[in-house]
Amino acid sequence: MSFIETLRALFDPLRRLDGSQQVQLLFVVLFGVLLTISAYAAMRTVREEDAEGDALRERFHRELRAVWVTAVIFWLAWVSGTVGATLLFGIVSFLAFREYITLLKTRASDHRSLLLAFFVVLPLQFVLVGSGDFGMFSVFIPVYVFIAIPVVSALAGDPERFLERNAKIQWGIMVCIYGLSHAPALLLLNLPKASGKGAFLLFLLVMVAATAQIAQELASRRLRRRPVARQIDRSFSYAALGVGVLAAAVVGVVLAWTTLGFKVPQALAMSMIAAASGAFGEFVMRALKKDAGVRHWGNAASVTGAVGLLDRVAPICFAAPVFFHSVVWYFQLRP
């Protein structure tokens, strides 16, 4: 067991730091890595001036910028505490839901339902999260909003495609508002042995979901397996999914074991749950995009000018509630 011993010796100083120091260290490492990559990328642009790799490089720079923005948002969320984090994710949720509604054609008679969703349901859900009322926050949308939306819709007096229209709106609320609101909720969870380390739970979720996404993307390029559902996603295969989930599990175990004091099997199970639900969530979002007739994202070719935020947050939208509720169930946390 010398390997485990070595690992232990390596990570022990890290484990002895208190929560806030660990988070600080985490951000120092994160921004350090980003700075290195950016500096390297900047040097490359100066050196090479060929037109060939231009499109690729431009895409890389755009992705890098997006990662920077995300990292800064997380840092701000952590610095500003519970209220700040709730507010930030509330804004992200608003933007994601706006994009979702843009993609799905709604009718004029949906106007009141949409107003209810945007200006009442969304803020209320995040206020509930911020107040830490987990009982209410878990049932508010599935129970109360589930009846409120169709009632408002029926009052508008338009029977045309009634079920379809309401299903669209309700589903969007579930994914973009309910799902995303579980991200700040993780910050507020009181774990045994790791109270006040909610930031790590959230970071764990995001890192695991992101790792799974990247590893899956790389694996599907390398492996070139037969796609499971060609019509929906040309690159989605079980082999690639497996690679993604495994890679995410490794990252998750290291993170959870060093920072949260989880046992290795616990950490492994939780990371795999988060990674798999995130990957499947993204897959479902692709199906939705195909249904809405969107082939490309970005400014040049998009139908709506949607900026592709939904793409980026889709894994979190699906993974966060599953992750949150499995943690709560497993540790029998009393809200």
């Binding site: 608003f94 839901f97 706006r98 994009e99 509604i101 843009t102 709604t106 004029a108 106007h111 949409l114 107003l115 945007f118 200006f119 400014n299 040049a300 998009s302 139908v303 709506t304 000018g305 949607a306 900026v307």
Partner: protein
């Protein structure tokens, strides 16, 4: 920051928050040249959307047209159109002794750019109605001014008829390639061509005419 500037910032921020107000410069870069932008008209928000989609330094020289009787009737409405938007006022009632286009021509002579909605009124049928002849007369009088077609997409979903609170839905403003009055082109043909240029910018409409790469 003066009060009109603050009001302008507030309005563009709201427009961005609700609609994204993305400007897609497909046929021309956003440059400080004298221009007449003409677009489809579906909602009260159209002008604010175009205004918010313009770069900041172009906003102060790009002016909307406002109906004088309505937009000067209250203190706030007058202040908003005069100080914030720097609107060109026109009379809706025709009088025989005055050309209704005269205020527009005056603004163009001063070097300002204009935004006009040549349908004359709001339509919600999807495709724009036939264009009124004002655009033709301006093109005739000011051949040096660039005519830029623009298509405003999705805005009718933000605020359907009869509603007062907008729903957040992303909208885009697509600016096309500059066009000009051809020598010898008659009014009907020109207006039809201008209308087709606007319709051609519709997302999905570009399949008919290959879109130029953005020069910006």
């Amino acid at each position: 920051m003066t009060r009109p500037e603050a009001m302008g910032l507030l309005l563009t921020t709201i427009a961005r928050l609700i609609t994204g107000a993305q400007g897609h410069w497909k046929g021309c870069p956003p440059k400080a040249e004298q221009r007449i932008y003409f677009a489809n008209h579906q909602s009260h928000l159209d002008w604010v959307l175009i205004w918010a989609a313009l770069p900041k330094d172009l906003r102060s020289v790009t002016r909307p047209i406002a109906a004088k009787d309505y937009w000067t009737s209250g203190r706030f409405k007058h202040w908003l159109t005069r100080e914030v938007f720097n609107a060109v006022y026109v009379n809706r009632q025709r009088t025989d002794d005055q050309d209704p286009l005269e205020p527009l021509a005056e603004a163009l002579k001063r070097g300002d750019s204009l935004v006009i909605f040549p349908e004359g009124t709001r339509s919600n049928k999807g495709l724009p109605m036939p264009f009124k002849s004002g655009l033709y007369h301006l093109a005739e009088q000011f051949p040096q001014v660039q005519l830029i077609p623009a298509w405003i997409d999705n805005v009718q979903r933000v605020m359907p008829k009869g509603e007062v609170v907008p729903v957040p839905i992303l909208c885009t403003v697509t600016f096309g390639a500059p066009m000009q009055l051809q020598p010898g082109e008659d009014k009907r043909a020109f207006l039809e061509r201008a209308r087709n240029a606007v319709v051609g910018l519709r997302p999905g409409g570009e399949r008919d005419a290959p879109a130029q790469r953005s020069a910006a």
